[in-house]
């Protein structure tokens, strides 16, 4: 009996110690979490470009240390939401413009997780198109430093070797695809095994087909005056499938990953790829001697009506409960300064959102720059959709279209259903 009581006491003590160890661990963390004004915590998706920006920031602020993590978008969004909800989020973090994805400005600002940056000097200078997506209820929360566009990116060498010319109208595009296929080198690489890639061709087509005749389409969609299934979106969807039928893409796009599609385009196994401008630096990593040029993807026979999807890329927000608020603001100010912006954009291959950054733009992006300057761009379509499910229905729906499990109309109808559910 004696031993038994002793053992019970021991067990209880063990449990208590365990519990105590856990709770003291939590206390210890909050006490020494680098709130010394010298250590900044940062989470970012800008793999390959943020590293240089951090180095420059540390050099400009002696004694300051930036602890940072980078990861892919899917993983990052899961991580940041968990950290925010549990109060362990970093001081500065990647935030996407607008709405429609789990790490977007509206989504994070609405429950109060982001610090109001409206009083920062750069906030007032943002062009109107960026303000809409960097703000929530009139306050700025997102330091968007770069602009991205979507179009057809050609491998100049492969194009020259094929003897073909980059198409400038829809009719030419279909002929170009047939000719390229005939010569054994398909026109565009398509890596839609990764489902986010499925949207890019559709966006490139919809920019001209949907927003060309009606720049206010999004407002009409939001007010219920228009639907996806009852609009020119059906035409954009049909043209995507027409491209597939004309042999514009390599064989088996559904089994091809984003990574594999880069290899195809970089090494000239296809003549190009329909992607965002960020692809150029990735293609150059795979083929350092290659040159790549981006143009608008023709969607009609009148080049004067062409529009390109172009929008603010992911920017940076400050945690409303940042442990080092001053340092966090200093970092964001640096990102938005001409020096920081130039460094970021050149490394990333994006265009600056503020004038006067002095960024040297990749020569392959000349056409995108012209379109941006001529106000011939429309935002990425999902940035103003009310919830993340609209985009997800489109992404998996397009995979179903390509594997004959669904029709384009069905996908658009699903998108309407999700859109009407609202926020």
């Amino acid at each position: 009996m004696k031993t038994r009581r002793f053992a019970v006491v021991v067990s209880a003590l063990t449990a208590l110690t365990l519990a105590a160890a856990c709770s003291s661990g939590t206390n210890a963390r909050s006490g020494s979490d680098g709130a010394d004004g010298k250590t900044l915590t940062l989470a970012s998706v800008d793999q390959g470009s943020i590293e240089d920006v951090i180095k420059a920031f540390e050099a400009a602020n002696p004694g300051v240390k930036v602890n940072f993590t980078t990861s892919g978008a899917d993983q990052y969004q899961a991580q940041i939401r968990t950290q925010l909800a549990s109060g362990t989020a970093p001081d500065v973090m990647t935030v996407w413009p607008g709405n429609g994805n789990p790490g977007a400005t509206y989504v994070l600002a609405k429950p109060g997780y982001l610090l109001d940056l409206s009083d920062q000097p750069w906030a007032a200078k943002l062009p109107e198109a960026f303000k809409t997506v960097a703000q929530y209820e009139g306050k700025t929360y997102n330091a968007v430093f770069g602009l991205n566009g979507i179009g057809a990116v050609y491998n100049d060498e492969a194009l020259a070797r094929s003897g073909l010319k980059a198409p400038t109208t829809w009719t030419e595009l279909l002929a170009f695809c047939r000719d390229a296929k005939g010569k054994g080198t398909p026109a565009y690489a398509l890596g839609i095994q990764d489902n986010w890639v499925t949207q890019l061709v559709l966006y490139a087509l919809a920019a001209t087909v949907v927003f060309g005749p009606d720049r206010d389409f999004n407002t009409k969609l939001a007010s219920g005056q228009a639907t996806f299934a009852g609009s020119a979106w059906t035409q954009a969807m049909a043209r995507y499938q027409e491209m597939e039928k004309a042999g514009c893409f390599q064989k088996n796009p559904l089994g091809t990953s984003y990574e594999a599609s880069q290899t195809l385009a970089a090494t000239g196994k296809t003549l190009g790829i329909v992607q965002g401008n960020w692809i150029i630096s990735l293609l150059k990593q795979k083929n350092p001697n290659g040159t790549f040029t981006m143009t608008a993807l023709p969607a009609t026979d009148d080049p004067a009506t062409f529009l390109m999807p172009a929008a603010a890329g992911a920017g940076y927000g400050v945690n409303a409960k940042a442990k080092n608020r001053d340092l966090a603001l200093k970092f964001v100010t640096y990102v938005m300064s001409p020096a920081g912006m130039k460094l970021f954009n050149e490394k990333q291959g994006s265009l600056p959102t503020l004038p006067g950054a002095g960024t040297t733009v990749d020569p392959g992006l000349k056409e995108l720059t012209t379109f941006v300057e001529g106000n011939r761009t429309v935002p990425f379509m999902d940035q103003l959709w009310p919830n993340a499910k609209v985009q997800q229905s489109m992404l998996s729906g397009l995979q179903e279209v390509f594997s004959n499990q669904a029709t384009g109309d069905e996908v658009l109808k699903d998108m309407d259903t999700e859109y009407q559910k609202g926020e």
């Binding site: 449990a15 899917d74 789990p102 429950p111 489902n195 091809t256 997800q392 594997s403 499990q405």
Partner: protein, 310 residues
């Protein structure tokens, strides 16, 4: 030798202190620290988590509402969810049957007296120790349109057999099964092998002297004596199959479309891509219930079988 066997069989009970036998086993409070720890880290958070299945929490907003059973009723109308439940059960059954079939054959093979049996055992077990994510990425490359599998088919003149293995909705699910079986057949093999090695040689020898054939020997001697190993293997693979996530997510991401989505990949997507935490936890609750029912049923059936066999 028979005496030796008896010692092995009854030795433990004889050696146990009398007090243990009287009370029918070691005192329960020996497990108390472990139980408390388990309750603290697993039980309490799990039970508290279930509450969210009845809310519309988005995983972020501190304000959310209690919505009763709505997440569960929504599930009934969600074609993607019912499709995923069907995929999950199909994958679990396919994996259980194929993996254990192959595992048993491998175990019988490497249990024989062939010279290279130790090397073979290591080779066959090797995939098990590699992380599922790594094997999934490896196979994703092998099964790609320009991957090794299609190249091999071309080399041997079977171009017409070339497929978009992971991009074809009719094939993708089976490719997931293939990869899981490839990785874990060695695991089943090891458990079967342990079972086979506990069967005394003498029994085989006696049977051989009596002139029984290989099939009869397997059915009447090996199978009943292997019953515990079969139970363990079937339980582990069906549970593993039902909660399959890593391999599917890395191989196909649930696609093309939703053609390979399982309950686990949907739970992940709903929670982290769509910010529907409440709904995602409701799905997780359903998954737990399915696992509990299937494994309880299986356990009852198998232990009855085991008793009958012994």
């Amino acid at each position: 030798m028979t005496a030796d066997l008896r010692v092995r069989q009854f030795g433990r009970a004889d050696a146990a202190p009398r007090a243990y036998r009287r009370r029918g086993g070691p005192p329960w409070w020996f497990a108390l620290p472990a139980l408390l720890f388990f309750a603290f880290v697993v039980l309490v958070p799990s039970v508290r988590g279930v509450y969210y299945a009845f809310t519309d929490w988005d995983g972020l907003d501190p304000e959310f509402d209690f919505i009763g059973l709505r997440n569960f009723t929504d599930m009934l109308d969600d074609a993607t969810a019912s499709q995923a439940i069907w995929h999950t059960l199909l994958i679990a059954v396919a994996i259980t049957v194929i993996q254990n079939g192959i595992g048993l054959l491998l175990a019988l093979g490497v249990n024989s007296a062939i010279k290279s049996r130790n090397i073979l055992r290591v080779l066959l077990f090797a995939p098990v120790v590699v992380t599922p994510i790594v094997t999934a990425y490896l196979w994703r490359n092998l099964l790609g349109p320009d991957g090794a599998v299609n190249s091999l088919l071309a080399v041997v003149g079977l171009e017409s057999w070339q497929q978009d293995w992971l991009g074809d909705p009719d094939l993708a699910l089976w490719m997931v099964v293939l990869v899981v079986v490839w990785q874990f057949a060695g695991y089943s093999m090891v458990i079967f092998l342990a079972g086979l090695q506990s069967i005394p040689r003498e029994i085989y020898e006696a049977a051989a002297i009596d002139g029984t054939g290989a099939v009869r020997r397997f059915w009447s001697i090996v199978r009943p004596l292997l019953a515990p190993a079969i139970t363990i293997n079937l339980m582990l693979s069906i549970i593993g199959g039902i909660k399959l996530f890593d391999q599917v997510y890395a191989l196909t991401g649930g696609g093309p479309g939703h053609a390979t989505d399982t309950i686990s990949t949907l739970i992940y997507k709903d929670a982290f891509t769509l910010g529907e935490f409440g709904y995602s936890i409701a799905l997780a609750v359903v998954l737990t219930i399915i696992i509990a029912i299937v494994s309880a049923g299986q356990y009852a059936a198998l232990s009855r079988n085991e008793r009958a066999a012994s």
